[in-house]
């Protein structure tokens, strides 16, 4: 008895293992049924021609993949995703950083500003879509009203109905929604910035831009990379806001891979083809997510050192 006592007793270890299994079993069952199983089926769906009705659909090999890579609409949607990723990553990063720096030393009212700027991020996408489609309304919308008032009425257009502006109009909405979130992350990172270094730089009569570039940014680089990757990964699987505001229209102009996959599967009944496109989204976003994970792990190791 006394010998086993030095480490964990065998009884304890056995009790722990039993409880551990009891604690995780319900979760594992749920995840297997509603995640694991459909995920594997997804691969199966992509090599058959399933229309949602036929019990045993015909095996078609890589036909869906061939169709996908030769479908100009897929490439168009993917290029929209890339536009979304580039603009939709850079702009919130920039705005979020500016907000965070503006808020950094503010004490009075800081909570109000923070809440106001972050609030859009917790709003349901449908509510955001509705409010912004009113702002973009061709007739009564604020945007066109303002343009007409300042004498730029010639620029007024139906922002969501015009194929050349639809994607960008939705993108602006998304940037508005995400900036406050980026700000919040930066604000928590700024708390760790060495203030003595900032004061030293200030005494050296550096400009604000110099201080941000040489003192602040190097110290929050890991967080900067992290936020970049988060928005980047999200850029491949963007769906809600585009689907709600334009449904990928007009005439597929604002289609992204997500809306195109959805339309194929649930409106055109090309279940297998839609699934294949959905797998493309997965294949594109997982590497980014893995990189993100790596960075995070490095971050947390650094965090423990400090």
């Amino acid at each position: 008895m006394a010998v086993v006592r030095s480490t964990l007793p065998k009884v304890t270890r056995r009790a722990q293992a039993r409880l551990g299994i009891i604690f995780t079993l319900p979760l594992l069952a749920l995840v297997v049924v509603f995640f694991g199983f459909p995920l594997v089926s997804s691969l199966y769906y992509s090599v058959v021609a399933y229309d949602g009705v036929t019990a045993s659909p015909a095996f078609v090999g890589f036909a869906n993949y061939v169709q996908m890579f030769t479908d100009p609409e897929v490439w168009h949607a993917l290029s929209n995703n890339l536009i979304w990723i580039v603009i939709g990553t850079i702009s919130p990063l920039f705005l979020g950083l500016v907000f965070a720096l503006l808020l950094w030393s503010v004490k009075r009212g800081s909570r109000f500003y923070r809440l106001a700027l972050f609030f859009p991020y917790v709003m349901p996408g449908v509510a955001i879509g509705i409010a912004w489609s009113w702002i973009y309304d061709p007739l009564y919308g604020w945007l066109n009203t303002i343009l007409r008032d300042v004498g730029l009425g010639s620029l007024a257009t139906g922002w969501l109905g015009n194929p050349s502006t639809a994607l960008y109009a939705v993108l602006v909405t998304a940037i508005w929604g995400a900036s406050g979130f980026v700000m919040l992350i930066f604000l928590s990172a700024l708390q760790n910035v060495d203030m003595e270094l900032m004061d030293a730089a200030r005494l050296d009569r550096t400009s604000v831009a110099q201080r941000v570039w040489h003192v602040v940014l190097p110290q929050i680089t890991p967080v900067f990379i992290m936020v970049t990757t988060v928005t980047l990964v999200g850029g491949f699987s963007v769906f809600d806001i585009v689907f709600i505001m334009t449904s990928g229209g007009p005439d597929n102009a604002s289609d992204v891979l997500g809306t195109y996959a959805f339309t194929n599967a649930f409106q055109l009944n090309n279940i297998s083809y839609g699934t294949t496109i959905a797998l493309l989204i997965t294949a594109l976003s997982i590497p980014c997510a893995v990189i993100l994970n790596r960075i995070q792990r490095r971050l947390s190791i650094e965090g423990q050192g400090v």
């Binding site: 319900p26 979760l27 995920l39 089926s41 409010a131």
Partner: protein
Amino acid sequence: MTAMTSRAPAMGAARTSGYRKTSKRERVNRVGRHTTLMILSLLWLAPMLLIISTAFKTRQDVQVNPFGLFTSFSFQNLVSAWTEGHFNDYLLNSILLSLPSTALVLILSTFAGYAFARLPFFGRTVAFYFVILGLLVPFFAYMIPLYFQMRGMGLLDTLPGVDLVLTTTSVPFGTFFMRAFFADLPGELEQSARIDGCSEWQVFWRVMLPLVRPGISALGVFTFLQTWNNFLVPILYLPGGSYRPLTTGLFQFISGRQIDIGPLAAATLITLIPVVAVFLVMQRQVAEGFISGAIKG
């Protein structure tokens, strides 16, 4: 650093004038900062103000001036969204979708998070990575086959079925989050509880669980908002329309042929009120949940 020390004496000589100058500049700076932040905050709140303003307009005013701010006041729109628009039903459905799934996420993640952090058993690492895979794989990857699987299981167009899907999509993050909380607790606590004669269950229930309460509440708020706002899951798996929650109810509203802006604004407001309430009352937990949500991806 050397530049600093060599400059220090000179600084002392010019102290008085230099000091006053910076303080004046600082004051201008502060006013500028507040003005900018105020303008930005208003810009960022503008869509919300637009929804509120339009929701409370009278019927005639909506027709001529739908987006002019606060030009009239009535409850007509709210009443018609609530009764004719069926948003009372949608609200109930939203509650029946987000509360049970949030509760389920909290229970499953807390138990599993504890096991993954502190109860070694055979196959634990593999099981953990399997659950965490859900953080890497986007919902798109399996949403389409899941539709037909749900149909086969008779869970399509049922609230319990969609509750389970919502739970599954949120539980990888929850487990990860709770595991981190349990892993941070000191091992001595566990040891001394065991010496005091606690069973493994009592160690968990009496000693460890009370210590992670802040984590549970942050996760709860985060999950509630995520499920309340979820659009894709109910639009996919509740296609029949008899259990429509607020989000897809709103979408149904805007995809109709003629849009009645007043009641639509009121319905949007109904959808937003719980979000605003949770957001204002539990600011800290919301921020904590979302920040760690990002850190996990």
